[in-house]
Symmetry: C2
Subunit: 347 residues, 2 copies
DNA sequence: GCCACTTCGTAAATCGTTTTACCACGGGTG
DNA sequence: CACCCGTGGTAAAACGATTTACGAAGTGGC
């Protein structure tokens, strides 16, 4: 009783659908799908006519519909504290390129290093049913979020929250970073070394402090530790350094253990009228092309962004492939480059 | 004859659906939808029970399904040449924050400043049915892409391809930028001013050159133009400057009209052993926090990233709202800051 | 008491794919 | 010739939401 036909659906002005293609090629939508996806064999004649029809109509598969049916979106959510920080934009750049070659797209979200914002942004990405999440977390205690670990899609914690119990993590060896920079300064004869950091709230920052302390202790300088906690801005770090310098015994070297700390320390040195590296030595944390034009050329710790990115990407894909596997913990060494901003102590 | 029930669908381990919520609350899915969207009135009792059920189940609306039905994705595609360039990552940062507050998400794609890659990436974003596109284009002639202008969703061309006929455009006033920097150097007494640029292939770069020429002409120096085309990397620009300095009459000032040009010029100046700003003056293009610690403090043109970003965002939303309106062309002034790297010419 | 109108709810259609279940057709085999 | 099997095709059932069409109450006016 085929009298009562399907509603007209008079091919709206919007994109052509698989049905339009099927109609034009004189086959069913199933066949069109098979041609386009290549799951099942299709006779050459039909295949050709489908392809011609698709071409003629300028057909583009609707990703929404396809995702809905297949149950995955081929989309990865990326959450970073601050995209305008070159370290994170570098990570995202690498991820984007990995994604593009693997047929994925990435949704990026900024947390502003704020746990509440981060939670909201992650929720939103989950609602969009991302296949996976790459997170440079704003906090170390990820499991504590109500209802989180359960419904979270496969996720990898990058750079932050190393060694979390329930997630895969990929991060730099921050303890070694702190150790190496400090040991270098000690070897140059420095005894009063200030470690400048942005905050003591994050594990990865505390790890750098740990490395600093380890190096001091190893050289019998444990009681010489001078921890300066600036804040999460260049200005805050500058102020902190200036204050430190107003105290009785001035440090002869500064180890700036974050990007903000690096810029803040340099600013303070300028404003105090001290000569770098003659009057003070500096070991920096940096990721920027600017560092190559800065004088003196900075002795610095640099994280291997590319390795961090590519490792976390493949760990995430593995995790998507086998959700049940035991969480992995990848640690990436850092590069330490000895250049001109740290000099032997003049006695 | 309700004997033959619907298939069981025994609530897989994955996310709960609206049907699960409906079942638990003892209402229909339509009602649940009405509660959650708030389109139609629902009695308080039902509303409450729905909300309780949704809460208990941890229900999160499936964005794919909803997009498919509603015909929009609340997703904006963002295409930039290079995300690790601070200028673009700054734009994306602002866009992301606008998006987050407006309930959108952004898909980011890098073109590598390569037209073919750009086309591919845009096609992919279109397949994902983004509601709009923010594009810092890799080319000026956007209409020439086969089959493009037709199926393209609402799009705004940002920073590049200013004044395109068929698209909205938002960009800096590059002619003014070129003019202002040059005029400043002329005012300081310089007559041999080299303009260093990365390429002559892009309109926005040619505009800066235009401003440079305008300023020269206005001061009767039209025949003193020295255009140095470096390349799209710091190194290429450095080499170009060094070559320029090996020619008979050395310039007394450089106007670096891109980010790469700025870094390249500084590197060249260092390697040539010239003193900045004593022996040579420099006007830079910059966007980085590093510039604030660089000495001498750079006299520089800076684009207003935030205005660029917020303007393009709202133009895009307008365009989505009224697709038929005439293309708009927004031009944003630049900031020119006189600081220490350009000095009066010593005669 | 009857009619019109509002309010609230439901079933089913729809969005555009993919995939399942089934069928028709030939060709080979025993 | 009967049977089986592989191939290529189709109709229809998903996927999970929104929205339409319609019906059942309740309310108020006359």
């Amino acid at each position: 009783m085929p009298r009562k036909r399907r509603g007209p659906t008079p091919s709206r002005s919007s994109s052509p659908t698989i049905r339009d293609v099927a109609r034009r090629a004189g086959v069913s939508t199933g066949t069109v799908s098979n041609v386009l996806i290549g799951e099942r064999g299709v006779r050459l004649a039909s295949r050709l006519s489908v392809m011609k029809a698709a071409e003629a109509l300028g057909y583009k598969s609707n990703h929404m519909a396809s995702s809905l049916r297949r149950g995955h979106t081929r989309t990865i959510g990326v959450v970073v504290p601050d995209l305008s920080n070159e370290f994170f934009s570098g990570l995202v750049t690498h991820w984007e390129s990995q994604a593009a070659t693997a047929g994925y797209e990435i949704l990026v979200a900024s947390s502003g290093d704020n746990p509440e914002t981060e939670t909201r942004r992650i929720q939103s990405l989950i609602a969009r049913r991302v296949d996976g999440l790459l997170i440079a977390a704003a906090r170390d205690d990820f499991g504590a979020i109500p209802g989180f670990p359960g419904v979270l899609p496969p996720a990898v914690l990058v750079d932050r929250a190393a060694g979390h119990k329930r997630f895969d993590t990929v991060s730099s060896d921050n303890v070694a970073a702190g150790y190496e920079g400090t040991a270098h300064l000690i070897k140059l004869g420095h005894r009063d070394i200030a470690l400048l950091t942005s905050a003591d709230s994050h594990l990865h920052l505390r790890d750098r402090v740990q490395g600093y302390r380890d190096a001091l202790k190893e050289h019998g300088l444990a009681d010489r530790a001078r921890l300066v906690i600036g804040g999460r801005s260049v200005e805050a770090c500058r102020v902190a350094v200036e204050q430190e310098f107003s105290r009785p015994r001035r440090p002869t070297a500064i180890f700036a253990s974050t990007f903000f700390a690096t810029l803040g320390a340099i600013k303070a040195i300028h404003s105090l009228g001290i000569a770098l590296p003659r009057d003070i030595s500096l070991v920096a944390f940096e990721h920027s092309e600017w560092a190559t034009v800065f004088q003196p050329y900075l002795t610095a710790v640099a994280q291997r962004r590319e390795e961090l990115a590519s490792n976390s990407w493949s760990v995430l894909l593995d995790r998507i492939g086998s959700p049940k596997a035991k969480p992995r913990r990848v640690k990436i060494p850092v590069n330490f480059s000895i250049r001109d901003s740290a000099r032997p102590l003049q006695s």
